[in-house]
């Protein structure tokens, strides 16, 4: 069972690969768009990679609710 810290570091790897975000900048309270400069299309790539990595389904209409890294961690924690 992955912990929140595991999920966060997994997301950090994805964010680095997809959007060039430095892993040091990734923390639960960070906003994808405002703090990490992840645009709407990169967000889709992050979601697709996270689905693969964590074995979850993140439907299109759920993506807009994932504002912060913590939102994504919580969703993955609850659904994987």
């Amino acid at each position: 069972m992955a912990t929140r810290a595991d999920i966060t570091s997994g997301l950090a790897e994805i964010l680095e690969e997809v959007a060039g975000v430095s892993p040091d900048d990734v923390a639960e309270e960070k906003s994808f768009t405002d703090d990490l400069d992840v645009d709407s299309l990169s967000m889709v790539e992050v979601v697709v990679a996270a689905e693969e990595k964590f074995g979850v389904k993140i439907p299109d209409n759920e993506v807009q609710n994932l504002k912060t890294v913590g939102d994504a961690v919580s969703y993955i924690e609850a659904n994987h």
Binding site: D39, S40, L41, M43, V44, E45, D60, V63
Partner: protein, 316 residues
């Protein structure tokens, strides 16, 4: 039955008026860097007085002129478009009338941005069934008519233009130049891109379309190659629908193309011209001699519907 068909000539037309990203930034809240980063478009052409039928005719005229055939030889005209304001007579008969093609089978088809590959597949089938021998197919769009210039999420994306191909039966004993079409759709996702109502505007859920295009289309593109007996790393060029550089890169990443394979990115200077984008980009590649005659080229259209279609052709 014949052994199949091939494209013998292409032609294209774009309106002369160039609209740059900076031009758009004067009338809406956007900027050049934002558009280049997210879509990869630098400028697009916007029609003034030209109709869809005008642009289709100009492109078709060039294709016919370089095909070695005359109007009298053409027995079918098919126009892929989703943006013609005039419904009847259809665009195909308007083109035929202006080019002096006397009695062709003439029809328009609408599968939005995948239209050219649907038309090419239909032309190939008609020729194989001996229902036609020399077919003119055209993708032509005037998306500026359907653009909501107050919606910055879509207004930066589109352009106007046309591309045309002359498709003929191959002589006995020669290799077919158009591989089997792979076509389909995802109707349950159709709401992601709409052009609806009596005064329609293009509306798009960009994230949903991007996700569909970058995750589900590469396997179809591979399958298209398999149907043609060509490996992706043997392709000399890949001409996908020109919607977004990041969609194109996303598909390319999953295809294992040869590094020498030419990947068309005409949208940089043309924007997204829907059904016109594939023939426009292909016609320009040929004009610039970037692909040798006879080399395998993967065409792959996708878009509203959500529809898709592709085939491997031999470059004319």
């Amino acid at each position: 039955m014949t052994a199949g068909s091939r494209i013998v000539a292409m032609g294209h037309y774009q309106p002369s008026r160039v609209v740059t990203n900076d031009d758009l930034a004067q009338v809406m809240d956007t900027n050049d860097q934002w558009i280049r980063d997210r879509v990869g478009i630098a400028e697009r052409r916007v029609a003034d007085q030209e109709t869809v039928a005008d642009m289709a005719t100009f492109a078709a005229e060039k294709a016919l002129a370089s095909s070695g055939l005359t109007a009298a030889d053409i027995d079918m005209v098919a126009v892929a478009t989703c943006s013609s304001a005039d419904r009847c007579p259809n665009v195909a008969t308007r083109v035929a009338s202006r080019l002096g093609i006397a009695t062709p089978a003439a029809f328009d088809l609408n599968t939005a941005c995948s239209g050219f590959s649907y038309a090419l597949g239909t032309a190939d089938h008609a020729i194989r069934a001996a229902a036609a021998h020399n077919v003119l197919i055209i993708g032509a769009e005037k998306l500026s008519d359907l653009t909501d210039w107050t919606d910055r999420s879509t207004a930066v994306l589109f352009g106007d233009g046309a591309g045309a191909a002359v498709v003929t039966a191959v002589p006995d004993g020669e290799q077919a130049g158009i591989g089997p079409v792979l076509w389909g759709s995802a109707p349950e996702r159709g709401e992601a891109l709409t052009i609806e109502g009596w005064r329609p505007y293009i509306r798009q859920d960009g994230q949903a379309v991007f996700r569909w295009a970058t995750t589900l289309l590469a396997p179809f593109a591979r399958e298209t190659c398999e149907k043609a007996g060509v490996r992706p790393d043997e392709l000399a060029a890949f001409v996908p629908h020109q919607a977004n550089v990041r969609i194109i890169d996303g598909i390319v990443k999953r295809l294992d193309l040869n590094p020498a394979c030419v990947v068309a990115k005409d949208l940089v200077e043309s924007g997204n011209t829907s059904a016109a984008s594939v023939p426009l980009a292909l016609s320009k590649l040929i004009e610039r001699r970037e692909v040798p005659s006879g080399a395998p080229v993967l065409l792959f259209g996708f878009g509203g519907g959500l529809t898709y279609a592709g085939q491997v052709i031999r470059c004319p």
